[in-house]
Amino acid sequence: MKQTYEEVEETYIKTLKGRTALKRLIKDMAKNRKQTAILIASVMITAIAATFSPLAIGGAVNGVASRSFSTIFDFSLLFISLALIQFGSNRFRVISSTILAQGTVKNLRDRSFQSIQHVPISFFSKVKAGFLISRMTNDGETLGEFLTFQIPSVVSGMTTVILSIAIMLYLDFDLTLYALIVLPFLSIFTISLQGKVRKNYLRTRRTIAAITGNLAENISSIRSIKAFNVESYTEDKFDGLNADNLNANIKASRLSSLYGAIVRIIEYTGIAIVVLAGAIELKAGLISIGILVAFIFYVQEFFDPVIQLSQLYNSYQSSIVGVGRIYGIIDSKKEVVSDGQITISSLRDSIVLKNVSFSYDDSNALRDINLTIRKGENIGIVGHTGAGKTTLSNLIMKFYVPQKGEILVDGKNIMDINTESYRNLISPVLQEPFLFHGSIYENVKIADPAMAEEEIERLAKEFNLNRIFDKLPEGMETNVGELGRNLSEGQKQAIAILRALCRNPQIIIMDEPTSNIDPYSEKFIFQSLEKFAREKTLILITHRFSMISLVDKIVVIQDGSIVESGTFPELREKKGIFSQMYDILYGSKGEGID
């Protein structure tokens, strides 16, 4: 019943099958035609130069035999020229293979990253960040290494195999068949192992992802780990995953080494078969000794790359599993909401929620919500924790799509509206402020990159947020650290508020914007907001009733339904849930509540 994170991950991100992944990879790589051509050309030039080198030596030797200094000189020159050509072509080979390999990996990473920007938001509550990171970094790296260092071997290996077979066929057809006799065995052997090999490598990739996922979380929660003195538990848990990874790798490499060893036996058997068959043919007088000797030489030439290629088979499998996992991210289902046709540039009339019901998976979060937010209206949303306030704002921001009912923006269904143009109208202050690594200025500027720093400072003053930043020695230049860790929580919230206001939006959604800001500062902020908000549409979610002066209408949500709504005096009058909450805050000491 209960799915593990790994199983959930698999349902959200499909891992491509080996062959499909390979096909796509080749297609992606071949897009860079120029480098592919250079690579193939340079490999061929190297191969040809290498074939001619022995001839040069032979020529020089003949020169010795014929006692001709000039012949020796000429062939020595040829020999060194061939070496120089190889030097040059190898150089190109290294560079072009790196461009192809690293370029492909870069491209895959970039596309995965793009894909992540467009998956449904719910994706992130299912798939661990560490898993995604592992696919993009670790799996990408394995592929990069394989391609950078091995593509040339693969290309040249295949060239040599084809060349040798051609020469062998030219020399003796029957013997060639004998030489190739082991190939079906090799193929069957390889194919029969394939499933197992793939499973092994999949396991190594999954276990490293588990390690990454675990560490990503642990490093982020290091303070709690220390505060609760659970270092050794953390170590033990990690050790379990680390050991899983070790075992997976050992198992995979045991099989791969065994495979390599058996391939060796197959190779030598192949040579033995040719020698035996050759000897028999020689005995029967079907073949000349010269041809047989040459043939034996080429059989070795042929087997060398075959062996090399099969040794690569394992790193190939490991990379192809990895690449399948990266394609999984690229292919993951995108937000359905992003294909709305209508673009809107302003809110003209209202946002209306009509019989909206929403549930996360199978837990009901909102039920039959009917709510009209008129342009310019300021609405307060209150309710107990877990009532569904944030969920409501998520729906309005189109992060989630309601299962029932509809949301109309100026009478048009939100699903038909282009998401970007719609979100452009809204500035949210999320319940959990998120800051990027960088200065306060940089964090605010994401709302409007063109904004001058003086302007930001002016607005900070206007909204009375400057008193919070003034305490920082470097003011707004302060580097906030990863996730704003160098600031106090209240300071982070202040930045999130400033960012939202700097965008000068038509609609502001604030989800407990001041839960960590002291009442004194809060009061100033709200005083300055009052004027600002009058021209805006404001949705304010709050537990702090001091803010209620800002809103025209209060909506009370309980257990996913709207239970009360009206102006402050109306709700006070009603003596319902709102009134009760209010009294607890400002009335008696709150004793007797339990």
Binding site: K2, S53, V61, V64, Q86, F87, N90, T98, I99, Q102, K106, D110, Q117, I121, S125, A129, I133, T137, N138, T212, L215, E217, S221, S224, I225, A227, E231, F238, L246, I250, R254, S257, G260, R264, V275, I289, L292, I296, H384, T391, F399, P428, Q431, E432, F434, H437, I446, G481, E482, R485, S488, E489, R499, E512, N516, D518, S546, I584, G590, D594
Partner: protein, 582 residues
């Protein structure tokens, strides 16, 4: 001169530095290494024997000695088995030991990471640390694997080839020896030039990891501010750098690594030319000359492999450099052993001064918190409240002054017993992926399911959890993403309460909880946990009313407020009341 020689040797040794580094992590696996070495010799021997047997076969074919041929075929098959065995042992051995190395090293890195002071984490990003524990380790693992499996055969082949060269012609071998300093010179130059690029590659990898993590964590902000494109551009910039550095390395590899076999070919040319000349003059046999040239061709591949090893080695060294930054012990917490948590829960802070860098956050804090009291600490945003309470379980240490619990300096209480008895609910909640009950128990062996449930009740989250289809075994998303803000805080609260701590610190731990629930929680804590001292950091008037004493932190100093109406700043209540009579 000798100075130069020394640094010369050092540079050569540098290539194998990762192998030296790995010794510590392969301590118990020495036998595997010996086995690998032994079988590598066998493997090389079989490889060298093949051409000899083939030669013999060709001789027998020419003589039409078929009986000999059958025998030689048998030899080949025997060789096949030996070679297969050797290749298995060498390859598996190399993989096995390199994996053991990675396992041990990773374990050590993680173990030393969790022992670091929190200060260590301040200027590092988790993405960067993550890459240090994964790919940086893998870079050196890769080098170790390649060296173990191929270094010995490579060197053996070179030695064998040179030995054979000596055997056939002393003079030709001088040509080979002449290349050695040139090769080493090229190798060192290659190594030196690659260095900065590999370092950049490893660092960039860390930055890449970090930016993915940041982007995922901030997806909602990214989307609502339409930051998708800027984020993609930023990421593409990073992968561009990464790609660019690899290209730089490829340029160097393309030149230097291919120069090495070219030098060998140049020497071979000299041999052909010179040898041909002398052969004509001396009217000698050419067989030796051909063999010598063949040997030169034979060593080109091993030599270029050694060149490639230099590249792997630099990657490994750059990774190891980063790993060492975590393994350094100088940022470790001082874990004392012995001593017990004092009997009394009274907390006193005396002349406490606390700095972040040069900035004084707490100037002179004096506080006396009586045992078993419920006190509140308040103050403006950024006043230093969190900084102050973090000093008590020693998540940070003050620059001056002392903190006493029951009269004992916290520095004299072993960290583990200190932190076992003080529970803190941090302002920034960190829940982990897993079930709710796992999050409450949080790996503490002395906490039972029952205690977890009781704690959930005190934190007033029990009704919610029990209402879930899977109850306490409900899996929550990473960072508790599938819970509401207030639910997250209450799970974290239950985690802190579960161990029945002697001191409970709530750092604005109920800011997302509605006031009604909040007050219910406080009253349950008081009723249900005997003998506990509670320090509540709060900005809410309603919460302050609940405390016996309210301290206000202002300008890095504490003032105790007899009654909350005396707060130095306008209260929430006042702020509201003025507006309420609209």
């Amino acid at each position: 001169m000798s100075e130069n020689k020394k640094s010369f040797l050092k540079k050569i040794k540098g290539v194998f530095e990762p192998l030296l580094f790995s010794r510590e992590y392969l301590k118990n696996k020495k036998w595997v290494i010996y086995l690998i070495i032994g079988f590598a010799v066998l493997s090389t021997a079989t490889r060298l024997l093949v051409p000899i047997i083939i030669g013999a076969i060709i001789d027998s074919l020419e003589l039409k000695n078929f009986n000999a041929i059958y025998l030689e075929i048998e030899y080949i098959l025997i060789l096949a088995v030996l070679s297969a065995l050797a290749s298995f042992v060498v390859n598996f051995g190399a993989q096995y030991s390199s994996q053991i190395y990675a396992y041990n090293l990773r374990k050590k890195v993680v173990n030393s990471m969790v022992k670091k002071k929190t200060k260590f984490f301040q200027d590092k990003t988790s993405g960067d640390l993550l890459s240090r524990t994964t790919m940086d380790i893998d870079a050196s693992r890769n080098f170790i694997m390649n060296s173990l499996s191929q270094l010995i055969p490579t060197i053996l082949i070179i030695i064998f080839a040179v030995g054979y060269l000596f055997y056939i012609n002393m003079f030709y071998s001088i040509f080979f020896l002449a290349t050695v300093p040139v090769l080493i010179f090229i190798g060192i130059k290659f190594q030196r030039k690659q260095r900065p690029h590999w370092m950049k590659i490893r660092d960039t990898y860390g930055v890449m990891t970090e930016s993915i993590q940041e982007d995922i964590t901030g997806q909602r902000t990214v989307r609502s501010y339409l930051q998708e494109e800027p984020q993609i551009d930023k990421f593409t910039g990073i992968t561009d750098t990464y790609y660019g550095e690899y290209l730089e390395v490829a340029n160097l590899r393309g030149f230097y690594n291919n120069l090495m076999p070219f030098i060998i070919s140049a020497a071979a040319t000299a041999v052909i030319f010179y040898g041909g000349y002398t052969s004509i003059v001396a009217r000698s046999e050419v067989g030796g000359l051909v063999a010598a040239v063949n040997i030169f061709t034979m060593v080109t591949f091993p030599v270029s492999f050694l060149g490639r090893l230099i590249a792997f080695s630099e990657n490994a060294r750059a990774g190891i450099g980063r790993i060492k930054g975590v393994l350094d012990r100088d940022m470790d917490e001082d874990v004392l052993t012995g001593g017990d948590f004092p009997g009394s829960n009274a907390i006193s802070l005396r002349n406490v001064k606390y700095k972040r860098g040069d900035r004084e956050i707490l100037k002179n804090v004096d506080m006396e918190i009586p045992s078993e009291s419920f006190v509140c600490l308040t103050g403006e945003t950024g006043a230093g409240k969190s900084s102050l309470v973090n000093l008590i379980p020693r998540l940070e240490d003050p620059a001056e002054g002392e903190i006493l619990i029951g009269g004992v300096n916290v520095r004299d209480i072993p960290l583990s017993s200190l932190r076992k008895n003080i529970a803190i609910v941090p302002q920034e909640i960190s829940l982990l992926s897993g079930t709710i009950s796992e999050n409450i128990i949080f790996g503490r062996k002395n906490i039972t399911e029952e205690m977890a449930k009781k704690a959930a009740k005190v934190a007033r989250i029990d009704d919610f959890i029990e209402g879930l289809p899977e109850g306490y075994s409900t899996i929550i998303g990473e960072r508790g993403i599938t819970l509401s803000g207030g639910q997250r805080q209450r799970v974290a609260l239950a985690r802190a309460i579960a161990s029945n701590p002697k001191i409970l610190i709530l750092d604005d731990a109920t800011s997302s909880v509605d006031p009604e629930t909040e007050l219910a929680i406080f009253s349950r804590i008081r009723k249900n946990i005997a003998g506990i001292t509670v320090i509540l950091v709060s900005l809410r008037y309603s919460a302050m009313k609940y405390a016996s004493t309210v301290y206000e932190l202002e300008n890095g100093e504490i003032c105790e407020l007899e009654n909350i109406d005396g707060l130095n700043y306008a209260m929430e209540k006042e702020g509201f009341e003025n507006e309420a009579d609209l």
